[in-house]
Point group: C2
């Protein structure tokens, strides 16, 4: 890059201020100097529009004001929304985000962890699926949805309470026999607690239930087969379904339509996440909403908090139920 | 951060290899040294697991291998998909992405441009809406969808051709009187050419058309009023509609449903972008697809290309039409 006017250097500032180069360096790096020197240097910096070299500063302050964010992709609407909110939370605090769409690539995740260990970034917020992630206990890391070490805080929605809330809502809305449909990582993670919460809610409300759980890689068509196997005289054996995500609920709604079942008249459905179609329009379905803006704020606060020993190992944020057209609550006016 | 084993330094490598410090420095920075020295240094680097200090390297190479990406948000599904594809294109080339969701904040956009001018990032790819963006001609910047300077390449879909294709498709599908609905920035940008392309297509095919164009801030309800004003005996004056984005098409489909109009039987509708609901499922509507992966690759290639004078000022990539359920083409099998 060629420039007509080369950027002013620290030497130019020293000449302008009439002080030694070391004095300018001290002021730039926040070290103590006499007030009169400080004023002169600052005036010279302003006059020359001198810009501190970030590499040189990085070497000294050992701070990059940059946080890496690891997420499988930003195409999934939940991930896209989470990325947006974490970006806003970082920008608010004058931090920058290094975004890494990992696409579940274990070596990429590991590469960014190494960067944090080398202080190339100040820390990491990660939604990772890597069971073998090698991470030193003192690495500044906040994990979303998965506990990866005793000293690494994990932030999550209260997935157990969310599953329970879904069961209780279906019971409140008159359901008697319900189903839980799940697909997802077999890795131990917080969202897996939705199942246990749902079972707990069903038991406490006397709801009978069945479950269909697919492992990684099994085709979604298995759910359609499951539903068909529970049809008799054109009616479904269930009057309520809880889907582990809104994304799955979207597919299940299509399957129910293909089976000529009416939602919510014949069968009520609740999802999980709180996804809005097109980013900000209708909810996909009635759903358990994850508090994404609060979750993002908390991740950033925990990561930037200096006192590591005060960091709790797991924080679960409260979820809420929201009507989204697939349950019997038509008098509720949806926000929009 | 405290560590049990301090990271090995360049001195440790020199001691291990039995060479002078300067020799290690040369190897690390890719400068010529004798082969036997090079082999010894590389073996020592490997043995000690020595990691090159990125700040120190940055000072010398003046390269950060980091690109800033400016986008209003990642919540809008088109922006989310674009972010994902640009991230993949950068990672493929071992570059990192600094993501900045600008939320149309002019000062944030300017801040990142300044970072590029100070070599804190190697360059910027930006979808910006800032008419006053101050950007020197030699700043490594690739703009998406908006020309911002003679020496700043702009990458875009062929929006004119896309608008024309929408008109031609509606004509092919039997439409006689169509409407164009648009909302968006009043700023001169590439997507605005969709209108001119559509008009051109209508004229060449003898389609009569009307337009309803809202400016920034006008409520979407104006479109509903427009449609109602064109209803007579429960029928709409149009048999085809082209919406400037899939996001608008999503809303217009709801309006048409509220007016008890059947899509595509009574009225056919084509959108623009190629958005899939939930990131990877059904198309919102029949649509003109932007080639986002190709667009992302091109942006990154242009930005990293050394020879600035060889960079073209504007590149428009070809778009394609895709059936998505809102036009009369039911024999077409949608990809899944």
């Amino acid at each position: 890059m060629k420039k007509e006017n080369p950027a002013p250097t620290m030497k130019d500032v020293a000449r302008e201020a009439g002080v030694a180069l070391g004095t300018v360096s001290k002021v730039v790096n926040g070290l103590p100097v006499g007030d009169s020197y400080k004023i002169r240097v600052e005036a010279a910096i302003k006059k020359l529009n001198y810009q501190v070299n970030s590499y040189a500063q990085g070497l000294k302050a050992n701070k990059t004001y940059t946080i890496a964010f690891l997420i499988p992709n930003t195409q999934n609407p939940y991930f896209a929304y989470l990325t947006h909110q974490i970006n806003l939370a970082l920008l608010k605090r004058k931090y920058r985000m290094l975004l890494c769409c990992t696409d579940y690539d274990v070596s990429l995740e590991q590469e960014y962890v190494t960067m944090a260990q080398q202080n190339k970034v100040d820390g990491i917020i990660g939604l990772t699926y890597n069971p073998n992630l090698m991470i030193e206990e003192d690495t500044p890391f906040v994990s979303i949805d998965r506990s990866i070490g005793a000293k690494i805080p994990c932030v999550s929605s209260d997935n157990f309470a969310g599953g329970q809330l879904a069961a209780e809502k279906l019971a409140d809305l008159g359901c008697k026999h319900v189903a839980f449909l799940r697909i997802g990582s077999s890795l131990t993670n917080e969202p897996n607690k939705r199942k246990a919460g749902f079972e707990n809610g069903c038991l406490s409300r006397g709801l009978s239930y069945e479950m269909k759980i697919l492992s990684d890689g099994e085709p979604y068509g298995e759910f359609e087969t499951f539903l068909k196997n529970h049809m008799k005289d054109k009616k479904l054996a269930f009057d309520g379904i809880f889907c582990v995500t809104d994304s799955l609920a979207y597919l299940v709604l299509q399957m129910l339509r293909n089976l000529n079942l009416r939602v919510p008249e014949d069968i009520q459905l609740i999802g999980f996440d709180g996804i809005r179609l097109m980013g900000d329009k209708d909810y996909v379905c009635s759903t358990i909403i994850q508090p994404v803006p609060e979750l993002a704020e908390l991740c950033v606060d925990l990561l930037l908090q200096e006192n590591r020993s005060a960091k709790p190992p797991l924080i679960c944020l409260p979820v809420t139920y929201c009507y989204g057209g697939t349950t019997l609550e038509s008098d509720y006016v949806q926000e929009g």
